[in-house]
Amino acid sequence: MSEINLVLNGKPTTATIFEPHTTLLNWLRETGLTGCKEGCAEGECGACAVLVTKASGTGSRLTSVNACLVLMASLAGQEIMTAEGLGSPNQLHPVQAAMVQTGGSQCGYCTPGFISSMADEYYRPNRSGFDLEALSGNLCRCTGYRSIKDAALGLGLPYPNDALRLRQNIAAPEARVAKIESENAVFYRPANLEDALILLEKNLNAKLVAGGTDWGVEVNLRFARAAVQIAIDHLPELRQIHWQTDFVELGAALTLSELEHQIGDSIPLLHQWFPMFASRLIRNSATLGGNIGTASPIGDSPPVLLALGASVVLVSTNGERVIPLETYFTGYRKTLRQHGEIIKAIRIPLPLAPKSKFYKISKRKMDDISSVSVGIALKLENHTVQNIKIGLGGVAATPLRALETENFLMGQIWNLENVTAAAQLMANSGTPLDDHRASAAYRKAMLEQLLLKFFAEVNL
């Protein structure tokens, strides 16, 4: 049992944590803030969304996250705001008032989560319109979304003296060094990378926790428990972006939303890819390091990173090493990362290939898991393929490069005939399976079709 201090709906609060795997959702509900709902416990529905104050430049951002995937142990010193804190029935917050007016709630169960995500976007600095993508991680089964859309699009900007708007001008609370423990488990937030690596060396089987969007699902749905968890999401060394002449390094612990915000469209393939990665709610917590660290064959980042020719920068007490991503995955959820190593950054070589695209095949357009995903980066010279890299996901036990297809195309004229022949080769990449997401035949067909689609689209 440990205690942490945090600020809940504007009030300093002491939380008793009996077990380091306790989620923010469960703690809030036990506290009596039952507006936070469990709809799925895996970050898919957004009914538990609440606002966490996160760092942003010199100020901060009220950031909507899935409370079911946030561990209380990670929140020492942090600020949390729920729908109850934003307003009351007699004094509605502007986003709440808008939802009442347009009929944006029917059964009301998903509504507090929508309010959180809407408030996050409402307070986005320098906003002109309302980006509906902010609500991509919230599901509603009743309304059909039109009324929620109207509530969102009808919102004005916060008043200059709006307290929460002003709050964002001030830095977010710093992550506090913490040790949260129970009889069987301990959660550490180390002071810096060095301490983290030493801790890890002592606890080789420790679970590294960054965004926790995958680990939280294991904890909630499969009752996974780790004797030792080490938080790394706050480590400054893992939160940098370094532009060099021949590569750029993206910090492994930056959230995808932070990356999206900070790199803008300077890496077009990533710029196109971000909105297709899960939902805004997930991207507000999830990290690139985490997506590679879980080594899922259907993770969405490896196909684009493979197409970009990326490498993984690993760090341990022995120093750093750089491994090309294409050799990094060695089997189903197996990688070259050794005990004691942390993914520090992802290195992308420069200059970038001039033409690139990411394709994701899924049943739903937003926030779905891909059945097949393909990243392609192409450099032509005089209509001839000078370089092409193709990353594939969902067609084998690991993400992989379509090397045979690439080799076939190298040096060839970029025309329909050659691409059609290459697409037939690509169809034979990997060993696609039948499952509930898609049939093997469809996956195979998509490998062929997506190269043809790329050809049609880059030639427009």
Partner: protein
């Protein structure tokens, strides 16, 4: 201005948006000494339980008790057909609950459940609907709907036949099943439950506990969505919580997590249809022969009435002179499929719409022409013998919508677009809906209410319907305020409880407002007539000439000389006149012979039509819904903001069923899509960017509360136009010939349809 017809927000909207609205499981944390219930679920689709060892669970710290069949005080049954043992000796599907662990914490209950040892003898299982049909694994009776002489089919000018499999649908109400039970000092059992049918929940709890109904009270504050999934499914969970509370003397909380909810509770029935249809030389339907097989899962629950409604909607809006449709409920080792918004109507309707979509190109007519040509004409009757009341409304809806949606012009623009784009194709389709309103089972078409006026003139209403987001309570407040002539803020609504209004029907079949609104209005009218008598002596007029409006009471024609409603109420009290009344409503004119499948089961029909435009990517089969236009007949709208929400929400839910939501079971009977990460319902990305919804004008429905019509279910079936647009767009990759399309029409299904179209 009367409250009815005003566009007002949901009565709980301000509570919803601030997180203050309480749902069943939010109430538990107010209780001390709470126990948590957690099930042990079967890993097998069909097996006999040889041995059940609960002792290891009891050794886990925090585990208080494990409930098994031996603990049942009354009847070990959770269904109304006595085919759903609460604690089974033979498990019938993967996920079937065998016993329940009660513990001080949820985690301890989970650990306890994991420690329970079960030994099984595995039995043969029937998983797929196709296998069930082949093996004739049926339950319930054969249902037969027939009229005329289908032998004439063979003489038709055009004859077609086919087979069509329709996928099921998970309700995915955001709030999973939840019950919270306690027993008071007098032995009264109190169950708070997320249930659409409190009376039936009460009855099942009572028979499991061996108590009379009056010893059990069920309350439903509100539900986080129902959609039919909480009509019959909550009873067993409520009974477990109540049994636990009775045996331990402690309150018991039972809430299913998402995967438990998906693996334990029933869904929309998958269907298999085999059909043969004949058309005359003018493309008019001459005769239809069809067999419908529904996948009922392991027990009957509502499968028979669901099938009956499917049979009664296979005609949709079309006159079919000669028809013979046979229906069977299949028994499979899956969850017991149950009510889901539309209740079989969507599946029945989809069969005929699929047929028309497939055969239109073979008949050489456009889909919209084939459909309009076959609409019911005035005076014609349905296959079950009911005159199609207001049948001309269908054509009125159709014509109006074709115009307001610019159908013809957009169709031409699409032809131009398609000619220019080899890899993208668009299409636009219009489909109709005619949906019968009333429970097929006549006895359910009754409702009660209890309205109380306090001495200060404030009004409290109770009624038998439940609130699941559809805005029923809002409409009841509007009806009470309008009937009593008071302002909305003078009326309050109390939670639905079986000790206020007994013997209620399920809030289902879109009938919540028609029935409960009728009962609330009736109760208010009784009180009003007593008050009118009091007031009439003040004004010296006949009681019928006393007007109640906006909180004032006056003689007709003399509004300036008015009294406050509260003043008349106060006088009534001192004159010892009763200020409360129980209201009652029964739908008139209904009769139904369910063996002959003949009669007048419906009070009226709800009409509507929708136009959908889609664009398909030829490489992947991925598509976007570009624009939707809906015109729907809801009579005189009681509450426009709420009614619009019902239409939009129903449409998107229907579109989810037909395009996206894909239930998959593996060969062992395990549900592979058992969580939000594998079962996808529509999100923002499925909402059409242009979404125009309008009500049919001049559509007042006589004999229904304030001229309104039911709105809950019919809009689901408006989504069929999305499917038909996808079919047409996929066909446009080829020559536009007849094309089969699987349901749901996922991108993969559309991709294979494109392949067929191209070949």
């Amino acid at each position: 201005m009367s409250a009815v017809g005003q566009s007002i927000s949901h009565e709980s909207a301000a509570l919803h948006v601030t997180g203050q609205a309480r749902y069943t499981d939010d109430l538990g944390n107010r209780l001390t000494n709470l126990l948590h219930a957690y099930p042990v679920q079967s890993p097998h689709a069909h097996a006999k339980i040889l041995r059940l060892e609960i002792a290891p669970a009891l050794k886990i710290a925090g585990v208080v008790r494990v409930l098994t069949a031996a603990d049942v005080l009354g009847v070990n049954d959770a269904g109304v057909k006595h085919d759903e043992p609460l604690f089974p000796s033979e498990v019938m599907f993967v996920g079937h609950a065998i016993c329940w662990v009660l513990a001080d914490s949820l985690f301890a209950a989970q650990m306890g459940a994991a420690a329970v040892q079960v030994e099984y003898e595995i039995l043969d299982a029937v998983i797929t609907l196709q296998d069930a049909v082949r093996l004739e694994s049926f339950q319930g009776n054969l249902q037969l709907l027939q009229r005329g002489d289908t032998a004439l089919l063979e003489s038709a000018k055009h004859i077609f036949m086919g087979e069509f499999e329709i996928g099921g649908q998970e309700h995915f109400y955001l709030e999973t099943h939840a019950s919270l039970a306690s027993v008071d000092e007098s032995g009264q059992v109190f169950v708070q439950c997320s249930t659409q049918h409190p009376t039936e929940t009460q009855e099942i709890v009572a028979h499991v506990l061996g108590l009379p109904s009056h010893a059990v009270t069920v309350q439903c504050l509100r539900m986080g969505g129902g959609f039919g999934g909480k009509e019959m499914q909550p009873h067993g969970f409520a009974a477990i919580a109540a049994l636990g509370a009775t045996l331990t003397g402690r309150p018991v909380r039972l809430r299913l997590n998402r995967t438990q909810d998906m693996t334990m509770t029933g869904k929309r029935h998958p269907f298999l249809a085999r059909w043969k249809i004949g058309f005359d030389s003018d493309s008019k339907i001459l005769a239809l022969e069809a067999e419908l097989f529904s996948d009922g899962g392991w027990s009957l629950d509502l499968s028979e009435p669901v099938l009956a409604r499917a049979l009664c909607h296979i005609d949709n809006a079309y006159f079919i002179p000669h028809i013979r449709v046979a229906g069977r409920v299949c028994k499979t080792n899956k969850t017991s499929q149950t009510a889901f918004r539309g209740f079989g109507g969507p599946q029945g309707m989809l069969v005929i719409e699929d047929i028309l979509g497939r055969v239109a190109p073979l008949l050489g007519v456009r889909g919209e022409e084939l459909r309009a040509k076959n609409f019911y004409q005035a005076g014609q009757t349905t296959p079950y013998g009911q005159i199609v009341k207001d049948s001309n409304r269908m054509a009125r809806v159709w014509q109006t919508l074709l115009e307001t949606s610019d159908f013809k012009q957009r169709q031409q623009e699409i032809t131009v677009f398609n000619a220019k784009h080899p890899n993208q194709k668009r299409a636009i389709s219009i489909t109709p809906v005619k949906f019968g309103i009333s429970f097929n089972f006549t006895a359910y078409n009754q409702a009660g209410a209890l309205v109380m006026v306090y001495k200060d003139g404030s009004v409290l209403i109770n009624h038998g319907g439940t609130e699941m987001g559809q805005g029923l309570h809002t409409k009841m407040l509007q009806i009470a305020a309008t009937t009593l002539g008071v302002n909305l803020e003078h009326v309050r609504l109390a939670p639905t409880r079986t000790d206020k209004v007994p013997n209620t029907s399920a809030t289902a079949a879109s009938s919540g407002t028609d029935l409960n609104g009728g009962a609330v209005k009736n109760a208010c009218e009784q009180i009003k007539s007593r008050l009118a008598l009091i007031a009439s002596s003040r004004f010296g007029v006949h009681p019928d000439d006393v007007v109640f409006s906006n909180g004032k009471v006056f003689a007709i024609g003399y509004p300036p000389k008015s009294f406050e409603f509260a003043e008349i109420v106060s006088e009534a009290y001192y004159k010892r006149v009763s200020l409360f009344a129980s209201g009652f409503f029964r739908t008139e004119g209904l009769h139904w012979d369910r063996v002959a499948m003949f009669g007048n089961p419906f009070k009226y029909f709800a009409y509507g039509a929708s136009v959908s435009e889609v664009e398909i990517d030829g490489f992947t089969g991925a598509y976007t819904l570009r624009r939707v236009d809906i015109l729907h007949d809801i009579g005189d709208s009681l509450s426009p903001l709420i009614d619009i929400g019902q239409i939009e929400g129903g449409f998107i839910q229907g579109a989810g069923w037909l395009t996206l939501e894909d239930l998959r079971w593996d060969s062992k009977g395990r549900l592979s899509t058992q969580s939000a990460s594998t079962y996808k319902l529509p999100s923002f990305s499925e909402m059409p960017p242009v979404f125009n919804v309008a009500f049919l004008q001049d559509a007042s429905e006589t004999g229904v509360v304030y001229g309104s019509k039911a709105v809950g279910e019919p809009p689901v079936m408006l989504a069929i136009s999305v499917r038909e647009a996808l079919r047409t767009a996929a066909a446009a990759f080829g020559s536009g010939a007849s094309l089969e399309l699987a349901s749901p029409a996922t991108p993969e299904a559309v991709f294979w349809a494109i392949k067929k179209a191209k070949s």
